[in-house]
């Protein structure tokens, strides 16, 4: 039986790895984005600017405006941002890019409440990094990262096994779709009615996810920019019209952003040292959230201020928040195309 067990496990691993690219089309949006990044080809070796960070960059940049104002070609700018990205992931990405010989004169990193406080986004990031991070296997051999990524020896071994059995990396995606009550990010999952919560037919759900991912892939092109969650061909978010009405956020959410994640600041200092070693400039950028969201941020303004010390080894850019209103946003945290144009104008001015 030993032979049968080994052989069937081997066959399963081979088949699982063959099926993985087929399944990737059915991933939820953040996972798909990370997966897309892991497959992304970067042709150039030297850039003027590399943007690292989270989805605020992805939906917040108008590349043509930025390139024009900075007097460089669009090809001289690399947007290497991922949804829910954290400083731990940025450090890993920097190392990866360097290992491939890809460097820049200037590195820009966006900081916000989601990357500097203890909140749910950090846990989402961990799962995404372990499943879809480029060279995520290196975490297994970097003891200084273990405390960040693994809660116990079991999670270490789970990650180790998933490096061979790629289907395990897709598990949280496949289960959230397949659960009797699906837990994907969709309108019907917020309904209080059980009939609605049971969701559409599983095959329809799979088709719609695949269709959305194809649209996202198409929009991402080679630049890695996307008007956040816009799956239509509609470019109306170019027009500066208030299209969203956001409910007032629950003040209890304040708690979610109330505790500083000290480790993130330590990593930021490591990244600063790293950039000095590479003889590059590092700039930290504070991209404003909507007014409602800013109201509940209690700790981030303090963290941001504390980073602005006289001995700092980076530049800091704070984009004024008061010039943005709901006309510029897709949701609480992401600019629409109108907001991206205005933001890119201001950012490029400040970068000069």
């Amino acid at each position: 039986m030993k032979r049968i067990l080994l052989l069937s496990t081997f066959i399963f691993l081979i088949l699982g790895n063959i099926f993985t690219p087929l399944i990737s089309g059915y991933l939820e949006e953040s996972s798909y984005f990370w997966y897309w990044t892991s497959q992304r080809e970067i042709i150039k070796k030297r850039y003027n600017y590399i943007f690292l960070g989270d989805s605020q960059w992805i939906s917040g940049i108008d590349l043509s405006i930025l390139a024009k104002n900075l007097n460089v070609s669009e090809n001289d700018i690399l947007i290497y941002a991922k949804p829910s990205q954290q400083l731990e992931g940025i450090e890993l990405d920097l190392k990866f890019l360097k290992s491939k010989g890809i460097t820049a004169d200037h590195y820009l990193i966006n900081l916000s409440s989601t990357s500097t406080t203890v909140n749910k986004v950090f846990y989402t990031f961990k799962n995404l990094e372990l499943a879809f991070g480029i060279n995520s296997w290196k975490i297994l051999i970097e003891p200084n990262l273990w405390r960040t990524f693994y809660k116990d020896i079991g999670s270490y071994f789970y990650h180790a096994i998933s490096e061979f059995c790629l289907l395990l990396k897709f598990n949280s995606n496949t289960t959230s779709l397949f659960k009797i009550i699906p837990t994907i990010d969709s309108d019907f999952t917020t309904s209080k009615d059980l009939e609605t919560r049971l969701g559409p037919n599983i095959f329809d759900l799979l088709n719609s996810t695949k269709r959305k991912n194809l649209i996202m892939k198409d929009k991402l092109g080679s630049k890695g920019l996307w008007d956040w969650k816009n799956y239509t061909q509609d470019n109306s978010s170019n027009e500066c019209i208030e299209k969203i009405s956001l409910p007032k956020l629950d003040q209890a959410l304040k708690l979610a952003f109330a505790k500083e994640r000290k480790e993130s600041i330590n990593i930021l200092q490591r990244i600063a040292t790293h950039s000095i070693d590479m003889r590059s400039d590092l700039t930290l950028v504070n991209i404003p959230f909507t007014a409602q969201m800013r109201e509940i941020e209690s700790v981030f303004p303090i963290v941001w201020k504390s980073l602005d010390s006289p001995e700092k080894r980076y530049k800091m850019i704070e984009v004024p928040s008061n010039i943005f209103d709901l006309r510029h946003y897709n949701d609480y945290t992401h600019f629409n195309q109108c907001g991206a144009k205005l933001f890119s104008e201001i950012l490029s001015e400040k970068m000069k």
Partner: protein, 470 residues
């Protein structure tokens, strides 16, 4: 540390690796240490409490045996039974008792309430208490002689595969296995692996997928008819969860040369409630039969007394599961179902009014249908919050509901269960996967498909086994 966690798998592999390198005595020392660490992983204090309980029961067993035939034996016996029950009562029933007292004060208009203390329930206490009671009881009725070695008796209580949720092994069966050298042959070891894997599959793929739907439904307002689907899913969830745990426990024990009793034997093919309880959680049903029902007189004191005994046994059985009104009513309900069946059996079925063909094609299928649904609806009592909730659930039973998506997902989830255990039923076997040696290719195919399902739709968020709460 749950069976369905990688941490446990590593723990078990280490234990197994050491186990096969030791002689019987050292194996027992290893099992004791492993059991204590496994148990203390939840709560170290409760681990030490269990050690004290083990020591006291060991001593009491010896005292009962050395005084057999004298009044002292009775005294020590009663002390042992009452002591074990008091311990269980304190941890499990104090809050229920105080809450019930407050409810009574409220009901009779007294403006008084007792403060409710915080008591942490030691996991598995219901199981190890029953273990110890049967040990003392069996010594008293001379079924066994007491264990001479504290080490062996400690392993009896601390044997980690069955420590948290059974099967509730009998001392007569388990103690000799601890005492004597275990012989592990290759076939048993291989079959143990398969039982373990199948148990984990049932838990991670079937039970945990069903549980998210069941839990969500309990918190929602349900349309008429949905409750029937919820009851169906809940029955299969509890079955896959608990039989999965038992299979995993039996598989692990088998790999170490132990034979634990069968705890589930295809309960959903039972054609009567009476038969159902001979197939479901067999170790508890038979324990209640041997240590409560028979001492109460069993069926030897007439039909009326027999059914009263059944009601007493099942009410206690309900309360064993948990100290809430829901479990109390559930126990009573199970007893009531058996009494109703006994009456029907006594007045109609036993008299062989029906020809065998009608019995086979008509009476038995009806019995199977009624048995399954009476059990499934009974399980809903676990979730009852109050009387109005009970009424709202009951009123939903009569509605009709169909959702294609729900149906398809249930089919996908339950097909592996129907195939693997269907084979067991078809070939009239007590255990699944006994065919593995004859059909290696089929085993390979089953493994590949199982691994696919496990890694793609298995729920890896750590979800505790349903029966841990008992």
């Amino acid at each position: 540390m749950l069976f369905n966690s990688i941490s446990f798998l590593i723990f078990y592999c280490v234990v197994l690796f050491l186990y096969f390198r030791l002689n019987t005595k050292n194996q027992n020392i290893l099992l004791l240490l492993a059991g204590f660490s496994f148990y203390s992983f939840w709560n170290l204090g409760m681990g030490f409490l269990l050690l004290i309980v083990i020591f006291l029961n060991f001593k009491l067993g010896k005292l009962i045996y050395s005084n057999l035939g004298s009044k002292n034996a009775n005294f020590y016996f009663k002390l042992g039974i009452i002591g074990n029950l008091l311990l269980l009562g304190y941890f499990k029933y104090t809050i229920f008792f105080l809450n019930s007292s407050n409810d009574i004060f409220h009901f009779i208009g007294l403006d008084y309430s007792v403060a409710i203390p915080k008591i942490l329930l030691p996991v598995g206490i219901s199981f190890y208490t029953f273990h110890n009671i049967s040990y003392i009881y069996d010594i008293k009725r001379k079924v066994i002689v007491p264990c001479n070695s504290l080490l062996e008796f400690s392993v009896y209580d601390l044997f980690f595969p069955l420590l948290l949720a059974g099967p509730i092994e009998r001392p007569k069966s388990l103690l000799p296995q601890i005492k004597n050298a275990r012989v592990v042959n290759k076939d048993d070891f291989n079959h143990g692996i398969l039982l373990f894997l199948w148990g984990i599959f049932k838990k991670v793929v079937i039970a945990d997928n069903l549980s998210s739907f069941v839990e969500y439904s309990f918190q929602s307002t349900l349309e008429p008819g949905i409750i029937n689907w919820v009851a169906f899913c809940f029955a299969f969830q509890v079955y896959a969860d608990f039989s999965g745990y038992s299979d995993a426990a039996r598989g692990m024990a088998k790999m170490m040369g132990f034979n634990l009793m069968l705890n589930f034997n295809l309960p959903f093919v039972a054609t009567s409630v009476s038969e159902f309880w001979k197939r479901w959680h067999i170790s508890l049903s038979s324990w209640l039969r041997d240590y409560v029902y028979v001492p109460l007189g069993g069926n030897k004191l007439g039909f009326l007394r027999q059914n009263i005994n059944i009601l007493i046994v099942w009410t206690l059985g309900g309360l064993w599961h948990g100290a809430t009104y829901g479990y109390f009513i559930w126990g009573l309900y199970c007893g009531f179902c058996i009494v109703v069946f006994n009456i029907i059996n006594f007045s109609i079925l036993k008299s062989k009014l029906f020809p065998s063909s009608i019995d086979k094609y008509f009476v038995k299928p009806i019995g199977l249908f009624l048995t399954f649904w009476s059990f499934s609806f009974g399980l809903l009592l676990f979730s009852i919050r109050d009387f109005n909730h009970l009424l709202s659930l009951a009123s939903g039973i009569l509605g009709l509901y169909y959702n294609n998506n729900l149906f398809i997902k249930l089919i996908i989830l339950l097909i592996p269960l129907f195939i693997i255990e269907g084979e067991q039923f078809w070939n009239k076997k007590d255990e699944s996967f006994l065919w593995y040696k004859k059909h290696p290719l089929l085993l390979g195919l089953t493994m590949v498909i199982g691994l696919f399902l496990f890694s793609s739709i298995g729920i890896f968020e750590k979800m505790e086994f349903f029966y841990f709460q008992f």
